[in-house]
């Protein structure tokens, strides 16, 4: 067992052994349902299906639903509230099936330790196969003599680092392999559940449907006031702070959530996790006019909200809040696109032309014979009408000599011929702007037949070509 696993076991409470589990009453269920909007039926099903009596529980229960549809949180909360004994294993943290199996046995072993019996831990036999796993679990269970049901939750089982078809099949049939086990395996997965994509199974399924827009808003609005206050930027003066009563803050928060959901629901869908990130990022900005005192918090009228919205509209309509990368966009510096020598820019453009033009068209494109060029282009236009734009496809490989030839045609005549083109090209290659396609990178760079391909998208090339005033359109066949 690796260190990470052991640390996890010791620090995080991944298991809990309680004397007995209780069935939730209807009042409790309703309370939970209020806490987790739109999840009443799922909670009810859990309540019906799971109980403290291990005979009554199904051996396997699958919980499925889209990403961030509340599967983990609902199941966890349910197990906590019912005071059931369970083991929680986040499969996505395990690198392989072996680690998952070892964690299950380790958690069962730690149950035994909790019982007071400090048996020496037997790690001599690593649990490295299903066969050993079944044997070990059987032995452990016979030692433990669990009277009540014990749940083993395998969270995010679909995010295991390796193919898990065999594992899934094994787990779903584990009821037959273990003798009289009080274990119930709860499998939480987000992509369609079964790797076999079957529509029917022989074990119960609980489906968590994706949230609707209204539900998403409702969930985001259920944030505690103190959490909101911590996110609030510092008020300019105390009078404004006094104005920010709990009611007003809540209405500010609700309005804000509604605006965010309205704006980004088309982008994110019902992905609560994404929304929370955006909200955390943008709420301070959103609330700043209020705390500065530039916008008064309206008590009832919508005019104030509209004013606030208008202030922030540029922010919302740009993609500043939702940028996926932390880097400055595109790496554009003040000196223009990509700080690189002029010749390198020409080289890159030439490489692009070499990649996206077929060699047979080279004469027509780059030769100075006017008539042939004109005629050909017309016919090509007609021919290529329903074809895929080549720019959208992968670049094709070219030879270095062809690149040099194209470069000669593209580069202005006054250009100094003493520049070391090869060094420039090597730099581009080391920057991965030009790559050698194919998987075997061990081939000799200096080999004459080595082929290259450009690794820069069209929009970047377009920017570069504008900087060096190169008319790319004239050299490429659309």
């Amino acid at each position: 067992m690796n260190n990470a696993c052991r640390r996890k076991e010791t620090n995080a409470p991944i298991f809990s052994l309680k004397s007995h589990m209780k069935q939730l009453s209807e009042e409790n269920l309703l309370g939970l349902a209020r806490e987790y909007p739109a999840r009443f039926y799922q909670l009810e099903q859990l309540n019906i299906l799971l109980s403290s009596d291990s005979v009554v529980n199904p051996p396997v229960l699958a919980v499925t639903g889209q990403v961030s549809s509340g599967k983990t949180v609902v199941v966890k909360r349910f197990l906590k509230d019912t005071e059931s004994s369970y083991t929680w294993i986040s499969v996505d943290e395990c690198l392989s099936i072996r680690v998952v199996l070892q964690r299950i046995t380790a958690s069962l072993r730690s149950l035994r330790k909790r019982d007071g019996e400090h048996a020496a831990e037997d790690h001599s036999i690593a649990c490295n196969s299903f066969s050993v796993f079944v044997e070990q679990v059987n032995v452990l269970l016979s030692e433990l003599q669990l009277e009540k049901a014990h749940f083993v939750v395998l969270d995010r089982i679909d995010e295991l680092g390796e193919p898990f078809d065999a594992f899934y099949q094994f787990i779903t049939k584990i009821g037959e392999l273990l003798n009289a086990s009080p274990l119930t395996f709860i499998l939480i997965s987000s992509t369609g559940s079964d790797p076999h994509k079957s529509q029917t199974t022989t074990y119960p399924h609980i489906f968590f449907p994706p949230y609707t827009k209204l539900e998403t808003t409702a969930i985001l609005c259920t944030e505690s006031l103190c959490r909101i206050r911590t996110m609030l930027p510092k008020c300019a003066n105390s009078s404004i702070e006094g104005l920010l009563t709990d009611d007003r803050l809540m209405s500010l928060w609700t309005t804000f959530c509604q605006i965010i959901v309205d704006t980004y629901f088309p982008l994110y869908g019902p992905d609560i996790a994404q929304f929370k990130v955006v909200i955390r990022k943008s709420f301070p900005k959103f609330a700043r006019p209020v705390t500065d005192g530039s916008v008064a918090i309206p008590a009832t009228s919508k005019a104030g909200w509209f004013e606030l919205y208008k202030l922030h509209q540029p922010l919302l309509s740009s993609e500043e809040l939702i940028a996926n990368s932390l880097l400055n966009k595109g790496g554009v510096s003040e000196n223009g696109y990509l700080d690189m020598p002029i010749l390198s820019k020409y080289l890159l453009c030439a490489a692009y032309l070499a990649s996206y033009n077929k060699p047979k068209n080279d004469v027509k494109l780059f030769s100075r014979i006017r008539e042939s060029r004109k005629r050909q282009r017309n016919s090509f236009h007609r021919k290529f009408k329903d074809k895929i734009n080549l720019r959208n496809l992968a670049p094709s490989a070219f030879e270095y000599e062809r690149l040099l030839a194209i470069l000669k045609c593209v580069v202005p005549e006054h250009f100094d011929s003493t520049i070391d083109i090869q060094t420039q090209f090597a730099t581009l290659a080391s920057l991965k702007l030009v790559t050698r396609p194919g998987t075997n990178s061990s081939t000799d760079i200096l080999e004459s037949r080595t082929k290259w391909a450009v690794n820069v998208a069209w929009d970047v090339i377009l920017e570069i070509s504008r900087e060096i005033k190169l008319q790319m359109d004239g050299y490429i066949l659309d």
Partner: protein, 786 residues
């Protein structure tokens, strides 16, 4: 004598009162059905009152229901009637009287305990009003009608159960019943509409029928003396067995009125079985439905017999051999022939589709054998799922044999055993196993280097008693597809079919008798064996097919939901019977019928029905067993597994990208891609196309995003042209965001085969399908116009 008879009645009454009253009520209902003036659907409150009154009418026999003060006086009248009848019977048939006396003595013991349990149950049962209030609270809180439906469902369920009882009793075609019905109908014409009156009329009118019923009662009691289980079985077959019980039920009137009142309370509640019993029934049934407990075998008797025979022969073989060698050292020809049947290839293959009950049969046989021949055999169970290669399987066999031997020899330390399966190479383990199982030394000698080991082994074996070994290989086909050229199967089958206990070498060979049973859901499993392995296999193939017709299928499904007689001693026979009747009635419900039909038409896997039934049964403590509860949520079918369900959870941007990808697939795709029908692309599953193969697709992100920009431009233009003020103008998202959405699509499996940069991939859904699920006018328009 009379008091004894009363006691009998009392003992019966406590448990069967409800059933009988229900039956009487059903008679009334049937009569109502016959006469046109009867109400078709009584209101719940009326039903309840009718039923409680029906009970009273049972007690009071003929007189109309009245105040409690009158009841006590009336209570005596049926008792005296019983007395008269019994005395009459005494005159006519003295031998019957003896039987009756005995029966009464028998049941007397039960009566007190039963009464106690009823009283206990009544104390725990929440009152009707409480229940109703709670349900109202729920329904208010949820603002949906489901909980109300639960409440109503109870009555519907009860009514339906009554109707089905009527149906079955009608089917029996008893004369007495028809005469009864006639009498009721004739009276019905005269009397008013009051249900209580109807019930009163339902009591038997003609003395001839009464006498015949007494005789039947007598028979029944005699049966109960013989074997209560027998009665149970009989009644299970005919749930609407009409007369004898109801006649007995009349005696409870002799009990104190308080008891009768309690009973009526139970009757009016939803639960027809006492809560204590119900919990036990529920536990047992759920265990069966979840596959943790073994259900009754249905339609598998043939296979059971075959396997049982095979395994028992294996177990008995050493005993026979020992007997033979003792009786006659020079075996006669006939004896050797009979012995030949024992070791004529002790291997079998059980084939059948998933869920047909293969493992169940084997489990049942093994448990039966364990009871019959305890300590005479060792079971080794392997599964192709757990033992994924030969080595693991070998170690597992060795470990299980050792465990089995330790159990049998209880106490004797077997150091050699642990040594055998741990810290030894697979080769040596195999060699030892084969020597042990086949009892031949030839194999090891051939191997040469293992000779010294063999010597040790023989020494160790000397002390151990010879027991039979039964090896069960679950998921047999996986063993056949393992690497190592089926060495394990070859050795196991070879050992199983090798001759032993022959007259000549019986004193030397100490090999256990063994049998190998493979279980596989692949019908081609025998063909998967190699030639040399196949020649060692006995070719005894037991095929367990799925249920051939829907009734049989329901019987299989039902078997797990019902209680077998004597399945668990703690559950009373009556409770079990009442439960089974309830389950049997489920079949008549349209939702269940639909479920069973659907499963029968698709997978024929009873476990799918079991999952649904378990859902309903789980709630039985709070609510009655009803079809609505069973089929309310489809647990077996994986929601969100289909491509279309996954589409519905996408964000708008992802959906638009998907639409654009589908568009460009049609636009730019090769001819065959464009021609492919909707379902072709929808049903294209992952296994058929290995991940990473790029060839089949014709879109990539750049193409799809290009199409997206094109369509977005058109849409914005249209918006601008329309000139209308749009609440939310169409927003075009950046390439970066679109790439994130594209990743979502790939994750959801809606786009397949995206290899690396520029690799083309295929869209899993067609444009026409997308149009059906797309929300929003814009997306729908994109789906349409190409």
């Amino acid at each position: 004598m009379v008091s004894l008879a009363r006691r009998t009645g009392a003992s019966r009454s406590s448990s069967e009162l409800r059933l009988t009253s229900a039956r009487n009520y059903s008679r009334k209902r049937s009569s109502i059905g016959n006469s046109a003036e009867g109400p078709v659907t009584p209101t719940p409150s009326r039903t309840r009152s009718a039923r409680s009154i029906a009970l009273e009418s049972d007690e009071t026999d003929t007189s109309p229901p009245g105040s409690p003060t009158r009841r006590s006086s009336r209570n005596r009248s049926p008792g005296s009637k019983v007395e008269q009848k019994l005395s009459a019977l005494k005159d006519s048939a003295p031998q019957k009287r003896n039987v009756l006396t005995a029966s009464v003595a028998e049941t007397r013991n039960v009566s007190t305990s039963m009464r106690n349990s009823v009283e206990g149950a009544l104390n725990t049962t929440p009152s009707k009003t409480d229940r109703k209030r709670r349900h109202e609270e729920i329904s208010n809180g949820l603002a949906d009608k489901t909980s109300d439906r639960y409440f109503e469902g109870g009555h519907d369920d009860a009514d339906r159960s009554i109707m089905s009882v009527v149906r079955s009793s009608v089917r029996q075609g008893r004369k007495i019943f028809s005469s009864l019905a006639d009498a009721i109908v004739s009276k019905k014409a005269k009397t008013t509409h009051d249900p209580s009156q109807d019930i009163v009329d339902s009591s038997p009118a003609s003395p001839i029928s009464e006498i015949s019923r007494y005789e039947e009662m007598e028979d029944d009691i005699a049966d109960s003396i013989k074997d209560t289980e027998l009665i149970f079985a009989e009644l299970e077959k005919s749930p609407g067995f009409p007369s004898p019980r109801s006649e007995e039920e009349k005696s409870p009137g002799l009990d104190p009125p308080s008891n009768a009142k309690d009973a009526s309370l139970v009757n009016s509640s939803f639960i027809q079985i006492q809560p204590t019993d119900l919990q036990k029934v529920k536990r047992r049934v759920l265990g069966q439905l979840n596959g943790r407990l073994r259900p009754r075998l249905v339609g598998l008797e043939d296979a059971y017999g075959k396997i049982f025979h095979l395994m028992e022969q294996t177990i008995l073989a050493p005993l026979h051999a020992a007997a033979m060698s003792k009786s006659d050292s020079n075996a006669s020809a006939s004896a050797s022939v009979s012995l030949a049947s024992f070791h004529g290839g002790n291997s079998a293959l059980i084939l059948g589709p998933r869920g047909s009950g293969k493992s169940l049969v084997v489990d049942s046989v093994l448990s039966a054998l364990k009871a019959k021949h305890k300590g005479q055999f060792i079971t080794v169970r392997l599964s192709g799922l757990a033992q994924t290669d030969d080595k693991l399987a070998l170690h597992e066999i060795a470990a299980q044999i050792e465990r089995g031997r330790r159990e049998i020899e209880a106490g004797e330390s077997l150091e050699e055993g642990t040594k055998m399966y741990r810290r030894q190479s697979a080769n040596r383990t195999l060699a030892k196993l084969v020597t042990m199982l086949s009892g031949r030394s030839g194999l090891e000698e051939a191997n040469g280097k293992e000779q010294d080991e063999e010597g040790d082994d023989d020494d160790d074996d000397d002390g151990a008693a010879v027991v039979s070994v039964i090896i069960v290989l679950d998921e047999f086909e996986r063993f056949a597809t393992m690497q190592n050229r089926q060495t394990l199967l070859y050795n196991l089958l070879d050992a199983a079919q090798s001759p032993r206990y022959s007259a000549t070498s019986s004193n030397k060979s100490r090999a256990p008798s063994m049998c190998v049973v493979g279980i596989s859901s692949r019908m081609t499993a025998p063909e998967m064996l190699e030639k040399r392995v196949r020649s060692r296999f006995s070719h005894r193939v037991i095929v367990i097919p799925h249920a051939s017709d829907i009734d049989k299928f329901w019987q299989i499904c039902e078997a797990a939901a019902t209680l077998e007689s004597g399945a668990s001693a703690s559950v009373s026979v009556d409770a079990a019977r009442a439960w089974n009747a309830q389950v049997a009635e489920l079949r008549q419900e349209p939702p269940i019928e639909r479920l069973v039909k659907r499963v029968f038409a698709t997978t024929k896997d009873p476990r799918q029905v079991h999952v649904q039934l378990a859902m309903g049964v789980q709630e039985v403590g709070r609510l009655p067993l009803s079809a609505e509860r069973v089929t309310r949520i489809d647990l077996g079918a994986v929601e969100g597994a289909g491509a279309m369900e996954r589409v519905s959870g996408l964000s708008e941007l992802a959906l638009m990208l998907l639409v654009c990808a589908a568009r460009s697939e049609i636009k730019y795709g090769r001819a065959e891609a464009a021609v492919a029908t909707d379902y072709d692309s929808a049903l294209r599953s992952v296994p058929s196309r290995p991940q990473g193969s790029v060839a089949s697709g014709s879109v990539n992100f750049a193409i799809a995003y290009g199409e997206y920009l094109l369509k977005a431009g058109e849409t914005r233009l249209a918006e601008a042209a329309a000139g209308a003020v749009v609440a939310m103008p169409f927003r075009v998202w950046s390439r970066e965001q679109a790439a994130a959405a594209w990743e979502c699509l790939e994750k959801a499996g809606l786009i397949q085969g995206a290899g690396g940069s520029g690799g083309l991939c295929a869209v899993e859904v067609s444009l026409r399908e997308l149009a059906t699920v797309a929300r929003g006018a814009v997306v729908r328009q994109w789906c349409r116009a190409l």
